[in-house]
Symmetry: C2
Subunit: 359 residues, 2 copies
């Protein structure tokens, strides 16, 4: 329609009244172009699919009025600069993970996944019905940034190990790639967490430069090939449902018409849920591939003694955070209370059902 109007304006000598109509029609057709920086490289599976899914939904629902250009890390060169770039307005949006910003804004730690914390559905319930979104807003608003759930990777595995972990002693000196808060827990127990670029992980594990590593789970581990070189795949404890994050520059969001704000909000919410389901699917498919190619992979649970030690370190480190920061304490208490309530239900539904069906 706007092309027709422009032609008419150029070729006509119509009055002010027609000018008003043309202006009004053009406003409704105005195209809003947003730029999104994602932490991931181009065509990154599952995570990158979530941003594309979000942008496609927004464009179709808005009849082309909302166009979101996605720049992967090869373009913007700052995978861990996404928060700053959205805050400054260099980018309008970001797709990343909240806990990456804990060095700058400590309380961002709490909005991805916590050790011994909530499963994906439990955590979505906390975000949307248990006060989680409001707490996240308190953390992000001072930075002129809005944060929304951005897709769940499902429960992450505990990692690939070259040797069995039968006791806390087995953790002493263990060289493991495990970043973030979980890495702090391992360090507290005498392990040696290291960070290694993803391209070097396979060789490091194969040559035993490291004894163990955690990545995600079968959905993304398959293509890394770890199952070919490490015999033990430990079940998870440290990220029981990592939720990625959409970031939006708040001034930019506020400048959009109300219908496009709602379209953007719903496109992000749906893309997040969709990614959780996509991760569930890819996990099942890829785990089947791993088992069929390498039937000797052994799934192991950490023994109760080791889990108890992980938990004790976790509690100690969380208490240190809470002692330093009232909002950290409030978030921790909200999560703990919500987890206690919802897990009582998960135990008599999901846990009971899955146990009754186990072969």
């Amino acid at each position: 329609m706007s092309g027709l109007i422009k032609t008419l304006i150029k070729t006509s000598t119509l009055s002010l009244a027609l000018g008003a109509i043309a202006f009004s029609a053009t406003a409704a057709d105005k195209v809003y172009r947003l730029k999104l920086a994602e932490t991931w490289g181009p065509n990154f599976p599952i995570f990158g699919d979530a941003t594309k899914n979000m942008a496609e939904m927004a464009e179709k629902m808005s009849n082309g009025r909302l166009q979101i250009r996605i720049d992967s890390s090869n373009k913007h060169k700052a995978p861990l600069g996404v928060f700053d770039m959205v805050k400054s307005g260099q980018y309008d949006m970001g797709h990343s993970a909240s806990y990456y910003w804990k060095g700058k804004v400590p309380n961002t730690l709490y909005f991805t996944a916590m050790p011994f914390g909530m499963t994906p559905a439990e955590q979505y319930a906390w975000f949307y019905h248990g006060g989680g979104m409001e707490l996240m807003e308190q953390v992000y608003t001072p930075h002129n940034v809005m944060s929304f759930p951005g897709g769940n990777s499902d429960i992450q595995m505990g990692g690939w190990f070259q040797k069995e972990i039968n006791s806390v002693d087995d953790l002493q000196g263990l060289k493991m790639r495990i970043p973030g808060f979980a890495g702090e827990i391992l360090a507290d127990l005498g392990a040696k967490p290291t960070n290694i670029a993803s391209g070097e992980l396979y060789t490091s594990l194969e040559r035993r430069t490291i004894d163990a590593l955690e990545w995600v789970g079968p959905s993304l581990d398959l293509r890394m090939g770890f199952h070919k070189i490490a015999p033990y795949y430990y079940t998870g404890w440290h990220e029981p449902g990592s939720e990625l994050q959409f970031l939006v520059n708040k001034r930019k969001f506020d400048s959009l018409p109300e219908d496009l704000q709602e379209i953007l909000r719903i496109a992000m919410r749906t893309a997040a849920y969709d990614m959780y389901i996509h991760a569930t699917h890819e996990s099942g498919k890829n785990w089947a591939s791993m088992k069929s190619e390498y039937p000797d992979v052994q799934v192991k649970d950490f023994p109760p003694e080791v889990m108890a030690a992980f938990r004790a370190s976790n509690d100690k480190l969380l208490a240190e955070h809470a002692a330093k920061d009232a909002l950290a304490k409030e978030i921790q208490m909200s999560q703990a209370a919500y987890l206690e309530q919802v897990r009582s239900w998960t135990d008599i539904s999901h846990r009971a059902y899955l146990n009754s069906q186990a072969k």
Copy 2:
């Protein structure tokens, strides 16, 4: 905008060219009004919230161009006539559950929940990545109706019992309100499934006119009050994640502009996911209330012998369906293959994690 244009048209003597602009602007502003019939009564918790959530998202995202009026069962008087009313075009949309139509269209049975079947996330993965949507389309398209996931109630409980079930013998003559396919399984094992109007359930259970009943789970059971009068709450097996359904008259859907089709599709998808998370929240909250008001409620698992009998009957009845209908067989095989693959993953993620955290 359209008000301004109408005024201008009335008061102006502008040429054909202006008429063309005004027509075009009016088309983009045209309001599409759809009527939705829901199976539930007015203000029905969780299920009814899902339809309201869907309609609100659609209206806001379309800037008021898509308006959906919701009629509850007190209005249309045909809670189990929703499929027929959408098929005939008397209503444009419906909100119900697919398995209600199995008397008319037997293969609709498979798109709500199946005994010993998939959990909510597993089933969404089957719908969106495992061929489920395509199979559902095959079943519904001949009826000029489109069916979409409409919200998950989470894993349903096995029901409230006045006496313990310790063996298959205890099922003999057991009077239980349990409708649908699960009722057929109970009947096959010697129980006497009955159907009783929801308003009479409490009294029937209290006076022991029936020995047991299943409803949903804490999310909807709390307000029914069963926990006050029955001591045993059995864990679930027969509906491990009942997915409700949005129905849309296909001709009506096809008549919408493409952007409103996408808005409607995404509003339904999001409302479905949102309902699952809402049900998770309400289940946790209400289960906490039940336990605090009636701490003597005992949660029980059916013993393995009884579960094995349920499963054997289930397999027998499913085989009877499959023998009569090639599409039924295809759907069953698709579900069984998908379940086997995805459950292998759920077992090493959710089941392992929940067991490791159990108190």
